[in-house]
Symmetry: C2
């Protein structure tokens, strides 16, 4: 397995020049972070990632997790790494300072997870889930619940896990049948949950489950779901883990990847019922869980980003080292000299950079939505986050599968051998388009909930913002910028007209809109990616002209943006066609015709 | 793991109505096969595949192959299955009748491998390699070599393996350093070979290696390579395996997939040198090996086809059984009812059917090139095979990765669990874009060797054939056919203008042509697929109008062709752009800029 190296200059560029850490640093209620602070934090994280987390990645894949006599054992080194991670305060980075958090902006936390996910996806997933649990408890927990749980989740003493899925209730959450019986002030939760990531482990002495279940008087479907916090060990008066709760991991799944992350089948209440506490009122569980899910969906997009970064690093290292063939003077050539290999690397780099910009920009909107002093700005960014969340999740995870696959391809036969580690990245990446709502569900969310709920207002605002950016592009007399401008205009127009068509379909033919959802989401991701790359190109061009900063870096940035415009953006018109004409044809096939 | 079921009606359609088994059946020197014969053969193959091979697929994945005390043990049931396969005469299907073969057309053999690959890719690979070895020995072996080896390869007593790659010589075959010293009439071969599929096993009592090595006086590079046949056990006078040759499997690779296929590191001549016999004259090895490689490259395309068929069958079965959500009356719905799931299934079905047509059409040209009485026709089809080979290999294997990935996606969380078997298909498929020349190498072959060698003559003839087909499409007043016609015309024009551009680049800027090769190959595959789907649509429409055959089948065929035209064909213009504008940008990034 290759090493991991912090892509410091790239992250700095995105934080400082492209997205705007400065604006975020001014927000009240967040710890103010200058670009120098961010740089120091990233250096620290990069060191920890390279030295501690990355070397465990392949070990975790080989050993996996094991269920032995009811106890889930994680792979060698994971418990020690988790201890070091929590002791260094990384669990607290984005948390509320009132409960021991560091109050860093989401933007910085996104950069941190860019690093953690790249270094060791299976390890980072545990912290992603804890982060999402903290987001939920911060917003929906009582003071008492926050005092008890938040402090310990942020210190890293305990971890969080989401218990939603049941065998019959996957994408259709409303079908779940887990039950909760009132028992004094508490509840007794019973039922089986599957696909619980980090549902049990030996990293900490307690685990906090957020469990969806039905109260006895619950209406059927998704309107009858309540949310409970169920600790693995019930805390005593001092908050120390005490009596073992009636919850157990009864099996681990044997998965394609992320072997080091135990995916548990959890049995709640096999005996007297697992003690649970209601969060956010009866039958209000799904709304509360959505807080967690939205945070988690962005986080899964960040997983896609991280693993794509790791794959890109491995591919370029291999391509620069692997010798095949000779130049005209008989000197051995590294394969990076071959145009087709460079094309592959550029396709990875271009997609990766667009994904990073998208993830960080959505994070900036999370910060603005939560902390901006003006309500209008908060609302605007809240809508933007809602719109971008399914795109971040789906486009960055589909991109991760593509980029990790290209990494294998650059390795040739060696890529297919497990020892190399390229195969692991590909296997690990393949979960990301599935969990926290499949990418198909994300696309339906984008079309039905996001376009549908505001009649396209947020999307059309974004398209208008992109249209106005054309003015900035038009001022440049650079040939590359002009080429980017042309391709971007075509792609943006394809998004605009497809959005218009889908808004019509939502009113008149919702099935057609649903059949169009996936190509539409890919279209939106592709065009947005083009927007960030065009902005990057303009900034790069300015730095090159002014001779500020590292010219080589900006030249590569400009070349990558041009590649994106010429090789990736043209897909937009094809996707627009698939989302309109192609969607029609779906209805011509009845289920029995396949 | 799901079952395998012969897609009988689909294969019949392609053989009989789309590609033209009747024309092949008239060729001299081939066993004449009517559509009824073909149907009976396929039924038999389908039964054997379903009952014997498919059930071993997951067992093979779990157990893999093992090297124990110098002996390679295959997974449970594989030796018995191989015995049954060879006893049923399947090893002989395409072989020369003078040596015990059945002389069936390649077209029929392609249909058979459609079945074998779908049922059990790792198992079928062994026979694919033997098939390629027979092709080589038929063409380049002496009478004596054919009598000794061909008969036993066709009976299935022995298997064949290709020993080309060395650690430093992958895509650059010319870098190989394995040596061969003359020793009387024979040679002593020494050196290490890697990535030898089915390089050793316990299925048969002998294995025939075709080994590339250098004679002492060999010029450097690819012009100094000779080919040797090296048996694992040297045959005695009666052709029975006798003394153990100096060749050994020293390690097996731990791979992402096709676990049941032992991928061997082979040591030739660790002691006295492995006894080998020259094939096809000194320093003429690469030309001879290309016979095998071309046959093998088509065969790897067929692997892509087979595994995509298996994934499609699994996906549609799961989608029809998995319940999520309800209709308006509260009745549980199978997920196949959701438009996004049907879109995914259609995308698999459309790509799969286009891949099948391409594979079978290339096979028809192989038969025509070898057996047509008129030389002009033979030459025309020989050129067609040369042109189509890299497209069959790369486009059908990239398609296999895509289709098996979509199968996982349709399964959701269950697709990520190994037990389901969807993950295995995805892992198995991932080798196909790599071996027998990576898909990047195929693309370079298409552009440099195929376009370059005849200045685009064969490709332009194909484009002209497609252009003339527009006449047939124009006679239909059907709306779907008209839509297909429009998209196909756009796509064909994109291929025509990109071909023109690449022919220019080959003369003036070969690096630019190389950077364009991969998108160009994908463009060619996409447009060709559109051609076959358009032809299928016209045939289907005629059957529907005339009320001949199974109308439901033809309606589905028409709907699938329309989906292809609306959702897949529009990629062509984007690929054309990537192959022209995008290729330019590759040169802007120097190796050190990544």
């Amino acid at each position: 397995m290759s090493e991991y190296r912090l892509p410091h200059e790239e992250i700095r560029f995105v934080l400082e020049e492209l997205i705007g850490l400065k604006e975020v640093a001014k927000l009240p209620g967040l710890t103010s972070v200058t670009i120098e602070d961010a740089s120091a934090i990233l250096d620290q994280a990069g060191r920890f990632a390279s030295e501690t987390l990355a070397p465990l990645n392949q070990i975790g894949d080989h050993e996996g997790a094991a269920l032995e006599n009811g106890i889930v054992r994680t792979a060698s080194g994971f418990a020690e790494a988790y201890k070091a991670y929590s002791e260094a305060g990384w669990c607290a980075s984005a948390g509320d300072p009132s409960y021991g958090g560091q109050g860093l902006p989401r933007l910085i936390n996104t950069a941190l997870f860019d690093v953690w996910n790249a270094a060791n996806l299976a390890f980072a997933l545990c912290n992603t889930l804890t982060d999402s649990a903290t987001a939920l408890l911060s917003q929906h927990g009582t003071d008492e619940q926050r005092n008890l749980y938040l402090t310990r989740l942020l210190s890293g003493e305990w971890t969080g896990a989401m218990a939603m899925t049941e065998p019959q209730a996957g994408s259709d959450v409303g079908a779940l049948s887990c039950s909760a019986q009132p028992d004094g002030d508490t509840y007794r939760v019973k039922g089986q949950k599957i696909f619980i990531s980090w549902g049990d482990h030996d990293l900490t002495n307690n685990i906090v489950y957020l469990v969806l279940a039905r109260l006895p008087d619950a209406p059927s479907g998704s309107k009858g779901i309540s949310l409970f916090v169920v600790p693995k060990f019930v805390p005593d008066k001092n908050g120390n883990p005490s009596a073992r709760n009636d919850v157990a991991c009864i099996a681990l799944e044997n998965k394609l990847g992320i072997h080091a992350s135990p995916t548990c089948i959890m049995e709640f209440g096999a005996n007297e019922g697992a003690l649970g506490w209601l969060i956010g009122g009866p039958h209000r569980g799904l709304a509360a869980m959505f807080t967690m899910m939205n945070s988690a969906r962005l986080a899964i997009g960040h997983e896609g980003l991280g693993i794509a970064e790791r794959a890109y690093q491995q591919a370029k290292t291999y391509a620069a080292e692997r010798l095949q063939g000779h130049d005209r003077d008989g000197k051995p050539l590294a394969i990076i000299n071959f145009p087709d290999v460079r094309r592959m690397l550029l396709s990875m780099k271009a997609r990766l950079e667009a994904m990073r910009a998208l993830c960080y920009d959505a994070a900036l909107s999370v910060d603005f939505a939560a902390h901006h002093p003006e309500e209008a700005t908060r609302v605007l960014h809240d809508d933007r986050v809602a719109l971008l969340t399914p795109i971040v999740k789906a486009w960055c995870t589909d991109g991760a599968v593509e980029v990790t696959s290209t990494n294998i391809q650059i390795h040739g036969g060696a890529g297919y051998i497990e020892e190399t580690g390229a195969a692991q990245l590909f296997r690990d990446a393949r979960i990301t388009p599935i969990y926290e709502g499949t990418n198909g569900i994300q696309a339906l969310d984008l079309v039905r909930r996001k376009l549908g709920s505001d009649d396209g207002l947020a999307m059309n605002a974004l398209i208008e913002e992109m249209r106005q950016f054309d003015g900035a592009l038009s001022t440049s007399d650079d040939g590359a910028i002009a080429a980017i401008r042309g391709r971007f205009a075509e792609a943006r127009a394809a998004l605009a007209r497809t959005t218009h068509q889908l808004l019509n379909d939502l009113r008149n033919d919702p099935d057609r809109a649903e059949a169009a959802a996936t190509p539409y989401l890919e279209l939106a991701g592709t065009v947005l990616g083009g927007y960030y790359m065009a902005r990057s190109a303009l900034i790069a061009k300015e730095n090159i002209s002014m001779k500020t900063g590292n010219t080589k870096f900006y030249q590569a940035k400009l070349a990558t943006a041009l590649f994106y415009a010429e090789s990736i953006l043209p897909k937009s018109t094809a996707l627009a066609r698939a989302a309109t004409g192609g969607a029609d044809t779906v209805s011509y096939m009845a289920p029995e015709d396949f």
